[in-house]
Amino acid sequence: MMIEDIAQELAHLIKSARADYAEARVEESQSTQISYRGRELESVNRSSAIGGNVRAFVNGGWGFVSFNDFSRLAARVEAAVSQARFVGKGKSRLAEVAPVVDTVPAADNNPLAIPLVTKKQTLDEYNDIIWRTPQIQTSTISYGDGYKKTVFVSSGGSFIVQERADITLRVSAIAAKEGDVQQAGLSLGSRGDFKAINNIHKQIAEMAQNAVMLLSAPKVKGGEYTVILDPVLAGVFVHEAFGHLSESDFIYENERLQKLMVLGTQFGGDHLNIVDTAALPGMRGSYKYDDEGVPATKTYLIREGKLVGRLHSRETAAAMGENPTANARALSYRYPPIVRMSNTYIEPGTVTFADMLADIKEGIYAKNWYGGMTSMEMFTFSAGEAYMIRNGKVAEAIRPVMLTGNVFTTLKNIDAIGNDLDMNQGGGCGKGEQMPLPVSNGSPHIRIRRCLVGGK
């Protein structure tokens, strides 16, 4: 059975459902995972999945069922509706959106159509480069590609078919000496374009050399430093430091948080502009419609240092009296959509990297990433590579550092924003149980004064 047919049947069923609003998604996907550990290719997996869900909204309460057994569709719809009726005790409010009937094909070719032998050959070349590097103990490579088609239908009359392709590549080189183990990694991704990952031999070689170099690098002493972040790490920074705090599902029912996050509040200097948009072509966080059928838009979160917007689902937008921003996303048919980022970045400023360095007597240049986390007020972001800055110059390498900040002070401590915006496609975002969701982050180089750094 085609998923369009199942969606058609669900569309019919939810129209007559006893709910204030109902929607259904049906999804089919194929994926490949190839992993290497050590010298050899370790595993190749092929997966296929098909499944669906129904979500119903009654008196402000939500019911949700997901399934991959399609034999009892009417019962699934009824289950979602009766769950919602059970929960709802208030009023259902959703921001208005016009119903959409549209088909959005994938922007790139299906990466699953590329023969496994081609993928293996590329990955073999990378692994060989790592293993040719002296003092490398081992390596890991994990490559994944996928192709997904989703049909969204709503009681409002939407019928949206969207396809997307996705590629991710994570490569690590591991160096070891006398019980000390150091690693360096690289993460890349694309919307299905294999070219984005098939010509990075030089980067792989540098990464492997970095891992070895870290064995002799010292640990920095913990404390406050002036730090410069490269565009990759600054992208993780903006995602953690401000992106998550902009997700309105944390805020819309928490009055005190709302008071802290009143539009117009100054969070940074006049040079700071932060944007989230799914409407950029070809990025991993891009889409034409979110998982509530809302068309993608560009949202300024911070403009000239002031809070001017936030990310919404239809429900949070209605509750806060703001416009929907098309940020309701679901990892797969297993989950309901929740408020998520898409492509998040700091807009470029005017400062050159050289000028940023020039007046730093002692500081840290932090590059690349291991990850990041946030609890809204406080956040962490871990560099994959770091160097001391001494007298205006990038000096010796140090062990990778964990940096941390507080949203109410750290954004104000950004005193220089570079002119060299770059977007990273290798990230995946986690929220609740839904991870990794494809997103992209970006920034130019930025400089932060008095940034707290973990160390010995």
Binding site: I34, R37, G38, L41, E42, S43, V44, N45, R46, S47, S48, A49, I50, G51, G61, W62, F64, V65, S66, F67, N68, D69, A79, Q83, V87, K89, L116, V117, Q137, T138, I174, A176, G179, V181, Q182, Q183, G222, E224, N254, R256, L257, P336, Y370, G372, M373, S375, M376, M378, T380, F381, S382, R399, V401, M402, T404, N406, L452, G454, G455, K456
Partner: protein
């Protein structure tokens, strides 16, 4: 399943079919009120074959199309690793009780009442806390069949209750929380509320931390969040085989403090992480990993064990539908003989760490951890005096666990697969904005 196995055998020398079905229901509370009821049903089938000596693997959710599944497995077998193991033939499994029929009978009304009780207990202490809570119940069914006559079937129930509270005062945000899980639906709201209320009490006052080396007491949650992940990686037989584990060549040696013992145990009754056999049909066993500080074993699945010249420890796990790989089932750290109160009383100036945000994002392989103290308290002259913020704690597990000052006398389950007491470390690097 038999039919898929039979068809796959026409294409390959050996085959194994692994079928997982699950159904779970969750009641979710947001901002102190019930907001969502969710039910998730899922079936997933995995086919592993050995063809021309190589491993092929494919998974699917659609059981009605075995031809595509078999074709995918055959396609991958051209590139897969050479199989060094044999699928296990029929064997007997230990009796591990993990099914409680009262989970199924536990009604939605009762789940909601439990969540409401928990929220009201916590709000009774701090009225302006904003709580998200969740009550989940479910059942999972596992079926395994292979071409050497091995077969396994078991059903497991699970139940969990958790709460996260957020308190905003001015620009200050406090996060508190606790969750517990079991195969029984017997988790008491008051036990969770008690832990959350203790956190709220300890965090009432603010204290400042200096930038210097300090003694740190990790609570069970703190141990789980900061110290366990590097050990899980280090005891993974695959990492050992690659030479990337810092303890890989130290079997039988004293690497950790004598007060530390750790084992992996999938046989504890009614724990959601327990099982009679692993995901390859190898019987479950309790595997000592550290005994009085000495490294005893590493964890193996079938293929890794064969490559390393060892036996599988029944640790083959399929995370996210992938091929089996060594993974702990339940990490259990043995309790010691010192109470938390005695530890605190021993510290002149130091910290208690309950949550270390970001600690698992770094060079875990090398044992390094560094995180922001999301929830932690200052100790002055043997007493906790208040919450610390804007503070980073850093260390390396191999240095930190080489000499610990004390191990707590009460162990607690953290998440579903770690059981640990408090661990008191004499000196860790602390950096703070005060």
């Amino acid at each position: 399943m038999e039919e898929i196995l039979a068809q796959a055998r026409k294409e390959a020398e050996e085959a194994e079919v692994f079928l997982v079905s699950s159904e779970e229901t969750e009641a979710k509370f947001e901002a102190n009120r019930l907001k969502h009821l969710q039910t998730k049903q899922r079936t997933n089938i995995a086919l592993r074959i050995i063809k021309d000596g190589r491993i092929g693997y494919a998974t699917a959710t659609d059981l009605s199309d075995p031809e595509s599944l078999i074709a995918s497995a055959v396609e991958t077998a051209r590139f897969g690793m050479v199989a060094k193991f044999r699928f296990p033939s029929a064997s007997s499994y230990p009796q591990v009780s993990i099914y409680d029929s009262s989970v199924k009978a536990f009604t939605t009304e009762k789940m909601i009442a439990l969540g409401e009780e928990l929220i009201s207990l916590v709000l009774g202490h701090t009225a302006d806390l904003v709580c998200d809570a969740g009550v989940t119940k479910g059942v999972v069914s596992i079926n395994l069949l292979n071409s050497r006559g091995g077969r396994a079937h078991y059903e497991k129930t699970f139940f969990s209750l958790g709460l996260e509270g957020n308190l905003v005062r001015g620009k200050d945000m406090l996060f508190v929380g606790e969750s517990q899980s079991s195969c029984h639906p017997d988790i008491r709201a008051k036990n969770i509320a008690k832990i959350v209320i203790e956190q709220l009490e300890l965090a009432k006052n603010r204290a400042s931390a200096p930038t210097k080396s300090l003694p740190v007491i990790f609570t069970p949650n703190g141990v789980g969040g900061a110290l366990v992940m590097p050990l899980m990686v280090a005891f993974n037989g695959k990492v050992v085989l690659e030479g990337a584990s810092p303890i890989g060549n130290r079997l039988g040696q004293q690497v950790f403090d004598k007060k530390l013992s750790l084992w992996d145990d999938p046989t504890v009754f009614f724990r959601p992480s327990s099982r009679p056999c692993d995901d390859e049909g190898v019987p479950s066993q309790r595997t000592p990993l550290i005994e009085n500080g000495v490294v005893m074993n590493f964890l193996y699945d079938l293929q890794t064990a064969a490559l390393a010249g060892k036996e599988s420890t029944g640790s083959g796990s399929r995370a996210r539908g992938g091929q089996p790989a060594p993974s702990p089932s339940a990490f259990v750290i043995a309790p010691g003989d010192v109470s938390f109160e005695e530890m605190v009383a021993d510290v002149k100036e130091g910290l208690v760490v309950e949550q270390l945000m970001g600690a698992e994002q770094g060079n875990i392989l090398g044992g390094d951890f560094s995180g922001n103290v999301l929830l932690g308290y200052k100790i002055e002259n043997g007493k906790t005096v208040g919450r610390v913020k804007d503070t980073v704690v850093s260390g390396n597990v191999y240095q930190v666990l080489k000499e610990v000052a004390a191990v707590g006398k009460e162990a607690k389950w953290v998440g579903s697969f770690i059981q640990t007491p408090h661990i008191y470390c004499p000196s860790l690097s602390v950096a703070s904005k005060g």
